[in-house]
């Protein structure tokens, strides 16, 4: 009997030790996102990754975007942050770089050298140009239109600003909301401007000059662009100043409105809300004889915690997130414009259309260039934009407010 017991105990000890050894071989890393909507997608991607890397287990945590950075900042400050996380670009990325929360990635992920200059700009420190993120995808601000309404009213995609206004007028006459956009939330004013009027400023030329301080936001071209945005109020819904972002989305998706000026990130949501909607996109034409511009920006990076204890596993996962396989899945399943090199983004017709439009693009001006210090260009434009759109201030006053606000810290404007 004693012999049996001792043999059994020995077996238990051996088995337990084996389990411990095996368990030790699996490293678990924490991965945070601000996209509860995409949990299933990431679960699927993580399963693929874990299959190819059985020594790494990834725990996904999705937090609402409105709370994400508050929760993340608190976690990072207490050394309890995730190993790998979704991270914003440009100024908001810089916040985390300046706080030494993120690890530089180029030495670990040489593939980052293959990303385009624009993609790298969104993941780089503005101090030394070092990359702290794996660029994921970019967004473009443009105009969605309802193809069925266009067919019903005999309209065609506009090739001039006047033709665009004419289309809006025809939709209004036919009792549609010509434009779904409202101004209840400041950021909706910013994307209304970015998706419809940046071409009037001179697009890339203006961006290059204003960033260098060779011109200002009081430039007559910028004032004209703001005035053009103001002229759209005639075609917005009744009481547009009370129309919130979600109202805009549902109004377009439910075919109450004929146009929606916004980002490429809306596409999947429109189809979710109304799978039968027949929609198309175009770049709003500004200057006669010139194609319309879409405003573009890098939307997201994947970054690594500088104090992660699981560096090797995190790098493996980041390499997967930088891979063509992941980029392709993001295109096909999320309809995102992946900026991973080599991805066949054109395999989805909508993305192919976006890629065509992106051939004539310019930076989404405040998000790309003026979100590094307080008050950000975005917050200044958003608040002044809301006042302008309800007629409380003029376009010149809006531009002055933005210029003066940015000039309080932006050296090229202080000369």
């Amino acid at each position: 009997m004693k012999k049996i017991i001792s043999t059994f105990l020995a077996l238990v000890i051996v088995f337990t030790s084996c389990c411990v050894v095996l368990a030790d071989e699996v490293t678990t890393i924490e991965f945070w996102t601000w996209r509860p909507e995409d949990v299933t997608f990431y679960d699927e991607m993580i399963a693929r990754f874990e299959e190819a890397n059985p020594d790494v287990k990834v725990n996904q945590t999705a937090i609402n975007n409105t709370e994400y950075f508050t929760v993340l900042a608190a976690a990072m400050a207490n050394n309890a942050g995730p190993d790998v996380m979704q991270m914003k670009c440009y100024g908001q990325l810089q916040t985390y770089i300046d706080s030494n929360y993120l690890a530089p990635l180029e030495e670990y992920i040489p593939e980052l050298a293959d990303f385009s200059e624009n993609a790298r700009r969104g993941a780089a420190s503005n101090v030394d140009g070092v990359l702290y993120g794996v660029p994921a995808w970019s967004q473009a601000m443009l105009c969605y239109y309802n193809k069925s309404i266009y067919e019903e009213l005999g309209l065609s995609v506009p090739d001039t600003w006047d033709a665009f206004i004419n289309n809006l007028a025809k939709c209004k006459e036919a009792n549609y909301d010509a434009l779904a956009n409202g101004t209840k939330e400041g950021w909706c004013v910013e994307f209304l401007f970015g998706g419809s009027c940046l071409g009037f400023t001179g697009a890339n030329d203006f961006y290059d000059k204003v960033v260098k301080g060779e011109t200002t936001f009081e430039d007559p071209a910028f004032v004209t662009a703001v005035e053009k945005m103001g002229s759209l109020t005639e075609y917005m819904p009744k009481i547009y100043e009370g129309v919130a972002y979600t109202d805009m989305q549902s109004s377009f998706a439910n075919e109450i409105a004929a146009h929606f000026i916004g980002g490429t990130y809306e596409y999947a949501n429109f189809l979710n809300l109304n799978p039968d909607i027949n929609l198309g996109v175009f770049a709003v034409p500004n200057i006669d004889g010139e194609p319309g511009y879409v405003a573009t920006y890098s939307d997201m990076n994947f970054s690594m915690n500088s104090s992660t204890k699981n560096e090797d596993a995190s790098i493996k996962f980041l390499k997967f997130l930088a891979s063509k396989e992941f980029g392709q899945a993001a295109v096909e399943k999320l309809a995102n414009v992946s900026i991973v090199p080599g991805v066949d983004a054109g395999s989805v017709p909508f993305i192919a259309e976006i890629l065509e439009l992106l051939k004539n693009s310019c930076p989404y001006i405040f998000a790309v260039g003026f979100r590094y210090e307080q008050p950000t260009g975005s917050s200044l434009f958003q608040s002044a934009g809301q006042s302008y759109m309800v007629g409380e201030i003029t376009a010149e006053e809006l531009c002055k407010k933005v210029q003066e606000g940015i000039a309080t810290y932006y050296e090229p404007f202080q000369k």
């Binding site: 601000w34 975007n65 409105t66 994400y68 950075f69 508050t70 900042a73 990072m76 400050a77 100024g91 908001q92 810089q94 916040t95 985390y96 300046d98 706080s99 030494n100 929360y101 409202g182 101004t183 209840k184 939330e185 400041g186 950021w187 819904p237 009744k238 009481i239 547009y240 100043e241 009370g242 129309v243 919130a244 109202d247 979100r371 307080q374 008050p375 950000t376 975005s378 917050s379 958003q382 608040s383 002044a384 809301q386 006042s387 309800v390 409380e392 003066e404 606000g405 309080t408």
Partner: protein, 307 residues
């Protein structure tokens, strides 16, 4: 002698045993954050990194710096609107309803419940539902269209001139039951002999209310006033749910707490955290709450009448 000492020690032990958890809570959740905020407000910050000691510079930035001072005084004005409207509408109605209910008017038991039910609702649910009713094509504007009053339709939450008042009115709708209940129980607790004597002496209802009831319920008025001051200075949830952390539109509904939250923690779309100024703001909120609460208590206590 020794037995007495042991008894005394035991008594102190049990006192300490019962008050320590409470004191710990106050220390951890009130005093410690206050001192941490004071400490943080005296340093320069680069995002989440604490840099050098800069004394009161963050307070200077808050009161005089471009952008912050404009936002801060705008928010303070809105807090003042909250206080004035709550005092004038919510508490006056609360007092009126409370008095009427204490007079046992017909259906008072039903009214008591109707007034108090909204207080029990979740603030998020109330904000969300009223947000729906107040949309451009929501219940309120649809009703106005139904009664041919389209000219009165507004962007209730989108027009900067009225958005704050709209949110305050929703809050008043939710909270009126609370002062109603406090005033009702306060009037109920008054000695009936005084009121009966006044009736016998020929006093009318108004005289009884202003000359007898009102002076005797000053302690309840003090409590409600102090709670209104604290509530008005700490307004956050209702604005956050109905107008977002930016106090939309164009900061017209901003309060010092939403401004503090945005400054200290940043926002998803447009700004990064500024911990130094945010901490200075939190210290100011503490000081304002403390100062106005103490002042109103001492002022109102002088008005109290003893029976």
């Amino acid at each position: 002698m020794r037995i007495q000492k042991t008894k005394k020690q035991q008594k102190y032990f049990w006192i300490a045993f019962f008050i320590t958890p409470g004191l710990l809570m106050v220390f951890v959740f009130i005093l410690l954050p206050l001192f941490m905020s004071m400490f943080n407000s005296m340093f320069d910050w680069n995002n989440y990194n604490r840099l050098g000691f800069i004394g009161l510079n963050n307070f200077k930035t808050l009161f005089t710096g471009y952008y912050y001072s404009e936002r801060f005084f705008n928010a303070i004005q809105n807090n003042l609107k909250w206080f004035v409207m709550t005092m004038l509408i919510q508490n006056v109605f609360g007092l009126y309803f409370g008095y009427m209910l204490s007079r046992r008017i017909n259906g008072s038991e039903v009214f008591k419940r109707i007034f108090f039910i909204p207080v029990l609702f979740s603030i998020t649910a109330v904000g969300f539902l009223w947000g729906l009713y107040l949309k451009p094509n929501g219940l309120i504007n649809s009703f106005l269209a139904l009664i041919n009053a389209e000219h009165l339709q507004r962007a209730w939450l989108g027009d900067g001139k009225i958005a704050t008042y709209t949110i305050i009115l929703v809050n008043i709708w939710r909270w009126t039951g609370f002062p109603t209940l406090v005033f009702m129980s306060s009037v109920d607790a008054l000695p009936i002999e005084n009121i009966e004597a006044a009736y016998i002496d020929g006093a009318n209802e108004l005289n009884i209310f202003f000359k007898i009831v009102l002076p005797l319920i000053v302690p309840a008025i003090t409590t409600i006033t102090v709670l209104t001051i604290i509530g008005s200075l700490n307004v956050f949830e209702q604005v956050y749910v109905m107008a977002g952390v930016d106090g939309q539109p164009n900061y017209s509904t901003d309060t010092i707490c939403t401004l503090f939250y945005r400054t200290a923690f940043g926002t998803y779309d447009s700004s990064s955290p500024v911990i130094g100024v945010g901490s200075a703001m939190s210290v100011i909120i503490y000081l304002l709450t403390f100062f106005f609460s103490i002042t109103s208590i001492s002022w109102l206590q002088k008005k109290e009448v003893e029976i």
